[in-house]
C-alpha cells in the first residue's frame, strides 16, 4: 500500500495529487490554528516523538539483506523503504518555510514603507531587489532568451555574487583590526598564543616557508622548518583539543535531542 502511495505520479494524477496535498495542508493548518493552546503542546510533543521514533527505530533495528535495483548487497529493515519518501517530505516542509520568512520580511518592510518610518528607503530597496530578482528568475526559466538570461546573470553574477565576495573579504579587514587589538603580550599564556599564531601563519604562506627552506629534507633539523612546526601544531596540539571539545559537543547534542524527543525539555518555548 505504502509503496504505491510513494510511487511517482505523472499526467493528470500528478496535478490531482498536488491539489489534494494543498487542500489537505490547508485543512490541517486550519484545524491546528483553531486548537486551544493547551492542546497544541501535547500534539507537538506526540508528532515530535513519533518522528524521532521512526528514525531511531530505523537506525537501531537489526538489518537483513534487502536487494534493490543495482545494489544486490543493500541492507535494511522494514522501515528502510520509507526513508526516501520521508526525506522528500521533510525537504518539502523545509522548502515551504521560506515562504514564512518572505511573508515576515514583506510585513516588516511593508509597514515601514506605508507608515513612512525611519529606514523606509532601505525597505524600498528590499522590495525592488526582491521583485526584480524574482521576475527575472521566472522570465529566464519561462522564456530563456538572451535578454532574459543576461539580465538575470547581471543581477546574479554581477551583483549578488560580487556582494557576497565583498562581505567575505571584509573578514580580512576585520581580522587585521581585531588582531592588532587582541594579540597583546600581557600574560605568559597570551605570549605563547601569539608566538604559536605567528609560527602557524608563517608556515601557512609561501614567503614564510622560504625562511627555513634551506634546512634539510630529513633528519633532526628538518623538524625546525616552519611548515613542519605548523603541521605539528595543527595535527597534534590543536586537533587534540578539537577532538576533546567534539566529544563534549556530541554528547551535548545527544542530551538536547533526547530532551526534545522525549518531551523533557523545559523553558519558555518547550513548556511553561
Amino acid at each position: 500500500m505504502f509503496s504505491n502511495l510513494f510511487h511517482p505520479l505523472h499526467g493528470s494524477s500528478w496535478y490531482i495529487a498536488i491539489l489534494g496535498c494543498f487542500a489537505l495542508a490547508g485543512i490541517l493548518i486550519a484545524i491546528l490554528q483553531s486548537l486551544p493552546h493547551a492542546l497544541r503542546r501535547p500534539l507537538i510533543r506526540i508528532v515530535t516523538f513519533l518522528g524521532g521514533l521512526y528514525y531511531a527505530v530505523e537506525y537501531f533495528w537489526p538489518t537483513h539483506s534487502m536487494p534493490i535495483p543495482g545494489s544486490p548487497k543493500h541492507m535494511g529493515n522494514f522501515l528502510t523503504p520509507f526513508i526516501s519518501p520521508a526525506a522528500n517530505m521533510l525537504s518539502v516542509i523545509a522548502g515551504w518555510t521560506i515562504g514564512l520568512g518572505t511573508i515576515n520580511l514583506c510585513q516588516i518592510h511593508g509597514k515601514r514603507l506605508l507608515h513612512a518610518k525611519e529606514g523606509k528607503l532601505n525597505s524600498l530597496v528590499f522590495f525592488i531587489a526582491m521583485i526584480a530578482m524574482f521576475t527575472l528568475a521566472v522570465l529566464k526559466q519561462a522564456h530563456p532568451n538572451l535578454i532574459n538570461k543576461n539580465l538575470y546573470m547581471l543581477l546574479f553574477e554581477g551583483l549578488y555574487q560580487a556582494l557576497d565576495s565583498t562581505m567575505f573579504a571584509l573578514v580580512a579587514f576585520f581580522l587585521v583590526s581585531a588582531s592588532y587589538r587582541a594579540f597583546r603580550v600581557r600574560t605568559g599564556e597570551a605570549t605563547l598564543l601569539m608566538v604559536i599564531a605567528m609560527v602557524v601563519m608563517l608556515g601557512q604562506i609561501a614567503l614564510g616557508q622560504q625562511l627555513t627552506i634551506h634546512l634539510p629534507d630529513h633528519g633532526f633539523w628538518h623538524n625546525f622548518r616552519v611548515e613542519i612546526i605548523r603541521d605539528w601544531i595543527l595535527t597534534k596540539a590543536s586537533s587534540a583539543s578539537v577532538r576533546a571539545i567534539a566529544f563534549g559537543i556530541g554528547i551535548g547534542n545527544l542530551a538536547v535531542a533526547l530532551r526534545v524527543w522525549l518531551g523533557l525539555e523545559r523553558g519558555a518555548f518547550f513548556d511553561s
Binding site: 518555510t97 521560506i98 514564512l100 573578514v171 581585531a178 559537543i249 545527544l254 526534545v260 523545559r266 523553558g267
Partner: protein
C-alpha cells in the same frame, strides 16, 4: 553508518540512559554547578544596555539550512529566551534577527512566551523578531547593519557560527556594545575571543541553559552528559592502550578493536 553498528547499539542507549536517569534524579536531588563567568555577565550586559537606553541584538547563529532545525540552534534559543526574560524586567528592547526561516515561528513563539511569563506581553513586537535571509554573508551584512543602525548596547551571539562570526562581532565591538558569545563551533572561538567581552567555549555552551535556569531537567541532563563523557574517556584510554600494547606485542587485538569502532 546507514544503520547502527553493534558498538553504537550499546553506546548510544548507555549514554542516553545516563542522561535520562540523571534528569529524573535531579527532580528530587539538588545539584550545583560551578560558576561560568560568561553567563554571570549576562545580567551586567543587560544592565549596561538598559543604562545606555540602547537595544540588545541577540542571534541564534546560522545552524545549517541544509539539515532543518539544529539542536545547537534550539539550545541557543533557550539561552536567548532566558536573556529576553531577564531584559523584560527593565523593558529593554531585544532584537532577534533570524537566519533559518524554519526557526522564525519557533523564535516568535519562544519570545512571546518569555514576555508572557514575565507579565509583560506588551513588550512583544513582531518587528523585533525578523527573518533576514538564509544566505551566510547576506545575513552577516544585515546583522552588522542592524547593530550599527540600532547602536546596540549589548549583543548576544549563541549557536553555530562560521566565517560571519567576525563580521558580526567586530561590528558590535565598533559600536561599543558589551558582547557575550557562546558557540560549539571550535573554529570560531578565536574570533569571538578577539572581539567579545565574554566567551563561552565548546561544551560549556550546553551547560548554559542549566546554569541560567537552575531547572532540574537541564541540571540533571548536564550531570548525565558528564557521566557519559567520563565513560567515553575511559573507552578512549582503554582503546588507545589496548591498540598500542597489541601493536608492540605484534598481536591482532588492535585491529579487532579498530574494526569494532568502524
Amino acid at each position: 553508518m546507514e544503520h547502527a553498528s553493534p558498538l553504537v547499539r550499546i553506546m548510544v542507549p548507555l549514554f542516553s540512559t545516563c542522561i535520562v536517569v540523571m534528569i529524573q534524579t535531579a527532580r528530587w536531588k539538588q545539584i550545583k554547578i560551578r560558576r561560568i563567568h560568561g553567563l554571570t555577565a549576562i545580567e551586567e550586559a543587560i544592565g549596561r544596555a538598559t543604562e545606555m537606553g540602547r537595544p540588545m541584538v541577540c542571534t541564534t547563529g546560522l545552524g545549517t539550512a541544509r539539515a532543518g532545525i539544529e539542536i545547537v540552534t534550539l539550545q541557543a534559543l533557550s539561552i536567548i529566551t532566558y536573556i529576553v526574560r531577564s531584559s523584560a524586567k527593565f523593558a529593554t528592547k531585544a532584537v532577534l534577527p533570524v537566519f533559518d526561516p524554519q526557526m522564525l515561528p519557533v523564535t516568535q513563539e519562544a519570545v512571546r512566551e518569555a514576555y508572557n511569563l514575565e507579565g509583560r506581553p506588551d513588550l512583544y513586537n513582531t518587528e523585533d523578531i525578523r527573518f533576514l535571509t538564509n544566505n551566510q554573508f547576506s545575513y552577516a551584512a544585515a546583522v552588522a547593519g542592524l547593530i550599527w543602525r540600532e547602536k546596540a548596547g549589548a549583543t548576544f551571539m549563541f549557536g553555530n557560527y562560521y566565517a560571519e562570526s567576525l563580521i558580526i562581532a567586530e561590528s558590535g565591538n565598533q559600536v561599543g556594545a558589551i558582547q557575550i558569545a557562546g558557540t560549539p563551533a571550535t573554529m570560531q572561538i578565536p574570533f569571538f575571543i578577539a572581539t567579545c567581552d565574554y566567551v563561552i567555549i565548546g561544551d560549556e555552551f550546553y551547560a548554559a541553559s542549566a546554569y541560567l535556569s537552575k531547572e532540574p531537567t537541564a541540571l540533571g541532563s548536564l550531570v548525565g552528559q558528564d557521566i557519559a563523557k567520563g565513560l567515553l574517556l575511559i573507552i578512549v584510554i582503554l582503546g588507545s592502550a589496548a591498540i598500542t600494547f597489541s601493536q608492540m606485542a605484534g598481536s591482532s587485538l588492535g585491529k579487532t578493536i579498530l574494526d569494532l569502532f568502524s
